[in-house]
């Protein structure tokens, strides 16, 4: 039974489009001056470009890591970084020294781009600081190092990510199914999973 009833196009009101992450994180948004019309009638809202997003302070600027400040009220985290897969362990070590705690590790299957994204969430137990670290790995051979030595709590999160996506965490001592049955050989949260 398919519960999602397709709506006819054109009569669904859209919510106000929020600024996309790329726009929020980019240092400046060049608003083409030519589009600002001098005509007395107000241009429709969709044509006026959004005001340039403020540059948000990076709470982890003292670390030499590619973190960007993020608008917490809009997104729910304070800083994010996209790193290469072989850097995740050193990032985890530096965040560990900062006193952050591991929130969760998960994956996102970007099948159209042929990549999988491993997302590491960290939070600070003493102040409002939530940090997201992302790493993209190729979808047909998804491997990334484990951060188990830095955060032992990563053990179960990585096993679960392996269960759902098939991402292999190199160096993990026990990458057996965690939530799926012991003999499971399928990865259900992949976008091409079909029962």
């Amino acid at each position: 039974m398919n519960l999602i009833t397709p709506q006819p196009p054109g009569n669904t009101p859209q919510p106000v489009p929020a600024s996309t992450p790329a726009a929020a994180a980019a240092p400046t948004v060049a608003s083409p001056a030519g589009q600002q019309s001098a005509v007395a009638s107000k241009p429709p809202a969709a044509l006026v470009p959004p005001p340039p997003a403020p540059v948000l302070p990076n709470p982890l600027a003292h670390l030499s890591l590619p973190f960007r400040g993020v608008d917490y009220a809009a997104k729910g985290y304070h800083a994010e970084a996209t790193v290469a897969p072989d850097q995740v362990v050193s990032v985890a070590e530096q965040l560990d020294k900062e006193g952050l705690s591991l929130d969760t590790i998960t994956g996102v299957d970007w099948m159209a781009e042929g990549q999988m994204e491993v997302v590491y969430d960290y939070f600070h137990p003493a102040k409002a600081l939530r940090v997201v670290v992302r790493a993209r790995i190729p979808r047909d051979n998804p491997e990334i190092a484990t951060i188990l030595k830095v955060f032992p709590g990563a053990n179960w999160h990585e096993r679960e990510t392996h269960d759902f996506f098939g991402i292999r965490f190199l160096g993990h001592p026990n990458l057996t199914p965690f939530l799926l049955p012991e003999d499971a050989d399928y990865h259900p949260l992949r976008k091409d999973f079909a029962q």
């Binding site: 039974m1 398919n2 799926l180 999973f193 029962q195």
Partner: protein, 172 residues
């Protein structure tokens, strides 16, 4: 002749005080009034089962408050919660370990048919515990109220003895 009349009369006199019945009926009555459930709460319905065993709804009135942890000592399995493909083997083992006569109540939508977790492409949930073994009473709800569990228990008692202990409550 007189002795027979006397004994017939004696039977009539003590009828209000002494019940005579076929052994089957007696056994059925005993079984129905002392169903010992297996503690088998899997998920949310387990909390309503616990609430049914607590003081307000009180399963003890029906003789069913003795939840046994071991299947060897239980005769009723109340499946309260979703049965998973990983868990199915364990549930079947527990069912097999229960001695006869045994009964099964499927409590909640998950035990009846997989509940809210059935969707096209689902990979983990057994769609109804009657795919594993026979079920005697189905109690729908998500979760069913403790009163519904008690009603299910009364229905099971009716199945055992042929008589309902308590008339069905009619709404006004």
């Amino acid at each position: 002749m007189e002795a027979q009349d006397d004994s017939a009369q004696a039977l009539k006199d003590c009828a209000p005080y002494v019940k005579f019945a076929k052994l089957d009926e007696l056994l059925a009555l005993g079984r129905a009034n002392s169903l010992w459930p297996l503690t088998f709460g899997l998920a949310c319905c387990a909390i309503e089962m616990m609430a049914a065993g607590a003081s307000r709804f009180d399963l003890a009135r029906f003789g069913a408050e003795v939840f046994r942890p071991s299947p060897r000592q239980a005769d009723l399995m109340i499946i309260a919660g979703t049965v998973n493909k990983k868990m199915a083997a364990a549930v079947k083992t527990l069912y097999d370990q229960m001695p006869e006569p045994k009964w099964v109540i499927a409590m909640g939508n998950c035990a009846i048919s997989g509940g809210p977790f059935v969707f096209p492409g689902q990979y983990a949930v057994i769609e109804g515990v009657d795919k594993l073994f026979p079920v005697d009473v189905y109690i729908p709800g998500c979760p069913p109220r403790p009163e519904a569990l008690i009603e299910g228990l009364l229905k099971l008692e009716e199945k055992l003895t042929g008589k309902r202990r308590w008339p069905v409550v009619k709404s006004e």
